[in-house]
Subunit: 233 residues, 2 copies
DNA sequence: CGGATGTTTGATGCCGGTCAACGAACGTGG
DNA sequence: CCACGTTCGTTGACCGGCATCAAACATCCG
């Protein structure tokens, strides 16, 4: 349970379901919410778990993934401040694994409570719908990247996306923080972690990137227009 | 414009937006609809076109795809009887290319007219939402297949999916019709058409398939459990 | 029949997967 | 504080799967 006064300081207040609610209405939503904190690698939920609630990320990053029968996994998305994890469900079960990539705080909503708010506020319902649409389009883009691009181009596409996401949230994109491991990145891009590492090297050699550290880089040339690695695959 | 009496014979009546409407309510929806016919390879709409309407497929098959800057394309989905193309939009523009794979007939709805019906009927709104959810999950599955599976496993996964889709619609799944070209299949699976052809051969050699013709096969062994080609990639 | 289109099959090469070794960063315990 | 183990990222060597280039074949249709 959260006091609505807290929301005024919440960095995710300006996004999706909270955005359309003014100070008077916010308590309706907030009374169904609780702040949670998750440590690195902790699972927020697993595929097949009863879909207890939705987690709106207020800080940090989580991954959504599908495990494969042979132990591999496909990370389908990285979610950041303002995004909501767990609103996708089949029956009343979660359909993805959700794992904290960094230390993460969430504002977690009871499903039924949120449904009530959605039913009462057109703006909130529209926000939910828009999130779903955005996710479909994003999945399609990602699918196209994995299906059609070579390794280096996939990485470039990812860096460009990440940079934009940081920009939307007012986070610094230069240097660009890469909080996820090489393995996470590989599972996201449909590659092995060694290949991800080599692709970083190629971007550095082509002077598209400068490495500050293994988890921070500076993009020195516009990736989208440089067509870097676009000849691959 | 369609007479509601026609709907009684429509094979797609039992799906999504038409399903929740009884004979009395159907005309509300139908007055915004028009039957269209599309020939093989014809574009229903292109990415970036003003999103004029939604096309509910009553017979045939269409592909949804994203063109890449270098001329390649990623087919993100094949839609069949009962599915709706064109409800995904960014602003008021279509976000995919939609092309007829086979001769196709659609029942096409004016967007504003449909919106009015959606606003008035909870069942129709729920149907739209469910379609969106299903698409997200399907895209995630497809992404995982492309990202994690080898060529032959991807093909097997596709055949299994197609078989199920036919089953849902009461279409014969044995023999299994493959109306799309090898190129379409390649664009869907993130492969080249030669590789698709070779993967078919491998499935035949492993006695998972029997080829009736190049566009009709018989699945002789359960693909899902055979783990065919699952060792690849 | 001849041309266009689509599928199969072969030969070859390269991208990325696999296996392995090494180094950097970090935490723990002596 | 340093020795040690663990985890993660990098780099190298090698190889296999898929792309590429090419040719033969099948099917359809004017």
């Amino acid at each position: 349970m959260v006091g609505a006064w807290r929301c005024m300081a919440c960095p995710a207040k300006a996004w999706n379901i909270c955005r359309p609610l003014d100070e008077d209405r916010l308590p309706e939503l907030v009374k169904h919410a609780a702040v949670h904190h998750w440590s690195r690698r902790q699972m927020l939920f697993r595929i097949g778990d009863p879909a207890a609630g939705l987690h709106k990320i207020t800080a940090g990053m989580v991954s959504l993934s599908k495990p494969m029968p042979d132990g591999r996994r496909q990370i389908v998305d990285f979610l950041m401040a303002g995004d909501i994890a767990g609103f996708m469900q089949s029956g009343d079960r979660y359909v993805f694994d959700c794992q904290a990539v960094t230390e993460t705080t969430t504002c977690s909503f009871d499903r039924n409570g949120l449904s009530a708010v959605v039913a009462r506020h057109q703006g909130v319902a529209a926000a939910m719908e828009k999130m779903m649409e955005d996710r479909v389009m994003r999945f399609a883009d990602h699918m196209a990247a994995i299906g059609q691009m070579g390794a280096t181009a996939r990485l470039a596409y990812f860096l460009e996306w990440l940079s934009k996401e940081y920009g939307k949230r007012g986070l610094p994109a230069e240097p660009l923080a890469l909080p996820m491991s090489r393995t996470d990145l590989a599972d996201f891009l449909g590659l092995r972690f060694e290949t991800v590492s080599r692709s970083f090297k190629e971007l550095k050699d082509k002077h598209v990137l400068e490495a500050v550290s293994s988890e921070t880089v500076v993009v020195t040339r516009s990736i989208g227009t440089s067509r870097s690695g676009a000849h691959l695959n």
